[in-house]
């Protein structure tokens, strides 16, 4: 018993400080299993409709799919170029992709920048 607690702590610290594996390197992924919905919005889809002529957010624009591992995934088919994007969580919060060091500005907010063909 005196070794059980240190062993558990060691096990917990290993899994707690080892980065999770993301097998698909092409798809854009976002980890938030408790979200009701996550949309991938960016320059290519008029930011979910916000910058389109109608100016209304489309709840289905760029809808991401939640996997069993808790990652939301989307694979937009985009031609070569530079695109700004962000995750729209629950139709309200705009969150940048923290796993992407490239950032840009959209509407005064820090968002992410993806280079297709880099």
């Amino acid at each position: 018993m005196r070794y059980l607690l240190p062993a558990m702590l060691l096990l917990l610290s290993c899994s707690a400080l080892t980065p999770a594996v993301m097998p698909d390197g092409v798809a854009i992924r976002f980890y938030m299993p408790e979200a009701a919905s996550v949309q991938l919005v960016g320059d290519w889809n008029d930011w979910g409709g916000l910058t389109a002529a109608g100016g209304m957010l489309d709840p289905e624009a760029g809808a991401m799919v939640l996997g069993e591992d808790g990652f939301w995934t989307a694979s937009p088919d985009l031609p070569r170029g530079r695109y700004r994007y962000a995750f729209l969580v629950d139709g309200r919060r705009l969150v940048r992709d923290e796993l992407n060091p490239l950032t840009a500005t959209w509407d005064g907010q820090t968002v992410s920048l993806r280079v297709i063909g880099d």
Binding site: V21, A35, P59, D90, T105
Partner: protein, 382 residues
């Protein structure tokens, strides 16, 4: 359709102080020869208005998709990219009463040319753009805009931007001019693709030198550069490949104003145990540094964690909790306070329900001694 309401909760019952309902309907006809679309709207709030929100008529040359023209109202546009912050961003000119006519041509290697005339209540803005997404070793975009007379905005903006692939290094650049004088120009350059030995598996380590030079009369409505500043700097980026781990360190030195030099760093990781670690540190010249630390444990459909943010000598701590009882339904609770003599506590509960084209959001918050609420519902039906 969007409906929004907000108000305060007083004596245990809600009192609405703002209500807005917005209903719009769009009709679009498309064919190989062109497109016609119209969006009509009716909005009821403090005042009720209705009418045409947007419309577009575009025609393509019969037999070829290369040449076309269009006319529209409330057509968005006027965006010129910089390297990071845009030269000109959306919102520079509002879409109200905006009428646009234009000519377009798509052709060799995807090159696209567009000439547009934006008719505003007080100005007529001419925009010409030509761009090629990839010419074998480089991508180039040219953008020019002239005719602005509104106060506080440059009368013209011209930019040539591009990215080259020279195998071992990929230069990105922007040459911009926001006036007629020699001191109204700006240059932004970044060298990408310089790869260093990676300190850990699962990613690439990149060294990214940057420089920007801007004349004293140069203006960027999108904030792409600082007028009258020569800045050199660089970033060290760890770009993940297959692992949920990334970090970046950035520093820049202002030759003309060393006091405004800045540095920043960030680290982000999602562990195999489902714990999210996020650290961000930002320091601007002689100013107060800002930093943030967030740790959130996420598993299955629940999350809990905390966040501490320092802004100068002020420390604010927050507790976070989230739960999703059903697919498409979630609740998020955030409680925060300053860690000093006047804690200024606040609490926010947000619940969301999302089912396909329908979304509903209820927000309840306790801030500044009163309880406020807001309800948002939106739906797009096709």
């Amino acid at each position: 359709m969007t409906a929004f309401g907000s108000g305060v909760v007083d004596d245990g019952s809600p009192h609405a102080d703002s209500l807005l309902a917005d209903l719009s309907a769009s009709l679009a006809l498309t064919s190989e020869y062109g497109e016609a679309s119209a969006t009509l709207f009716a909005s009821a709030g403090d005042t009720s208005v209705s009418g045409l929100r947007s419309g577009l008529l575009s025609v393509r040359w019969p037999g070829t998709p290369w040449i076309g023209c269009y006319a529209g109202v409330s057509r968005p546009g006027l965006f010129a990219p910089g390297l990071y912050e845009p030269l000109v961003d959306h919102g520079w000119i509002g879409p109200d009463s905006l009428f646009t006519i234009g000519l377009t041509s798509d052709g060799f290697l995807g090159t696209r040319l567009e000439l547009a005339e934006y008719v505003l209540p007080s100005d007529t803005v001419e925009v010409f753009s030509v761009g090629s997404p990839w010419l074998g070793f480089c991508a180039v975009d040219y953008w020019s805009c002239s005719g602005i007379d509104s106060a506080g905005l440059p009368s013209s903006v011209r930019s040539l931007s591009g990215a080259m692939d020279l195998r071992f290094v990929q230069p990105w650049f922007v040459l911009a001019s926001t006036g007629e004088g020699s001191d109204s120009g700006a240059v932004l350059v970044e060298l990408r693709g310089l790869r260093l030995p990676s300190p850990s598996p699962g990613g690439r380590l990149l060294l990214v030198p940057r420089a920007s030079f801007a004349g004293s009369a140069a203006e960027a409505p999108g904030g792409a550069f600082q007028p009258g500043r020569r800045i050199v700097g660089g970033a060290l980026d760890f770009v993940p490949e297959g692992r949920a781990l990334g970090w970046s360190v950035y520093g820049e030195y202002s030759i003309d104003d060393p006091g405004s030099s800045r540095g920043s760093g960030s680290f982000f990781m999602i562990s195999q145990a489902g714990i999210e670690y996020a650290v961000r540190v930002d320091s601007v010249g002689q100013g107060e540094p800002a930093s943030m630390l967030r740790i959130v444990y996420r598993r299955s459909s629940a999350s809990c964690g905390g966040e501490a943010s320092v802004d100068g000598d002020s420390l604010r701590v927050a507790g976070l909790a989230g739960y999703s009882p059903l697919r498409g339904v979630s609740a998020l609770l955030r409680i925060s306070a300053d860690a000093d003599d006047s804690p200024d506590p606040s609490a926010e509960l947000e619940t969301s329900a999302c089912m396909g084209p329908v979304q509903g959001i209820l927000r309840l918050a306790r801030e500044d001694g009163e309880t406020v609420f807001s309800i948002t519902a939106r739906a797009v039906l096709r």
